[in-house]
Symmetry: C2
Subunit: 223 residues, 2 copies
Amino acid sequence: MARDNDAMKVGMLGTGTVGQTIASRLAELGHEVVMGSRAAANPRAREWAAAHPGARAGSFADAAGHGELVVNATAGIASLAALEAAGAARLASKVLLDVANPLDFSGGMPPVLTVVNRDSLGEQIQRGYPAARVVKALNTVNSEVMVHPELVPGGHTVFVAGDDPAAKRVVAGLLGEFGWPAASILDLGGIRAARGMEMYLPLWLSMMGALGTARFNIQVVRG
Amino acid sequence: MARDNDAMKVGMLGTGTVGQTIASRLAELGHEVVMGSRAAANPRAREWAAAHPGARAGSFADAAGHGELVVNATAGIASLAALEAAGAARLASKVLLDVANPLDFSGGMPPVLTVVNRDSLGEQIQRGYPAARVVKALNTVNSEVMVHPELVPGGHTVFVAGDDPAAKRVVAGLLGEFGWPAASILDLGGIRAARGMEMYLPLWLSMMGALGTARFNIQVVRG
């Protein structure tokens, strides 16, 4: 798709449902996406790229090297390895949008959070890649809702956290393109707030069970 | 205050802000409250009881023995000791409303959850007192909002979890008396859902910081 000059080069790390859903929306919006995976010949990534003119598939390093914005949509327990493969030099100065949750499903349902309380995956990534500008966002909703918030009626909230205000503005702009009204974005402060955003997942999973759908969200209402 | 025959005998465990706020609202609604504390001569409990005609102060055992409904409003890290002092026999068959959060503030802010992932305080209590009918509720909002939900405008959600449906109906009735519309109550299922309700606290604390007030809540919005 042709697009005016605010098109962004985006590196998508991860080829699963979340990565594909976000990458497809980005491509639809005219951004130039390279989808990266551990094996550069990942069939899912190649198939996805073939279906999206202008998009490409490659390694984690290819995706990170391409992107001004890099999205971590890998499984939370694989994220640090994926970023290591991407390489610190290719992540330096980039806006790194982290949508992952550090959930371990290996022990069955419900999954357990592998990082809690005084640390979070978002902080681990920021510490590991200090020259990257990490923003945690979107991890509190299902991938469909991430990129089509209108699927949930009325007002509802998306959180952002990160240490770099300019990087948060880039992400807020992207959220706006996805359809999130500016008033729905709640900035929780520095990347440390990723702790609460990630520890919310067990409640999200309980709600999904009680509601019988993943198509829901929470609205923060102030007194 | 005189009250018709649906007045309940309530044992309140805990004399802090949460215990006093709930106890005062219960007394105002005509329920017969005994506020229990570790030391039966707790000055805060005695002062509270003196200000509420018909209410009494006593030990944890006094409160538990009195109540058809027992409310655990102690600090989460002190809850198991408080219930041990109350005594299993006095808790047997009682509806035990657990509003506590297992937060340890001893290491400074933010506090850490002492129970996570595959267990929760609510479950610990139900396991420790299998003859009690534990219902987790109200731990996700500030004490003012617990008993005056109209302080937050519009619709917003209160969660309940517990293994005994009849006990959850008793708690739902009480929530209704506090002012929670029936449609605002989201039943998450068995007491195991206390995990998510408790692990939500770090996000609640981040939101309180970002919003600059504890007078807020979340509304669950379904797509």
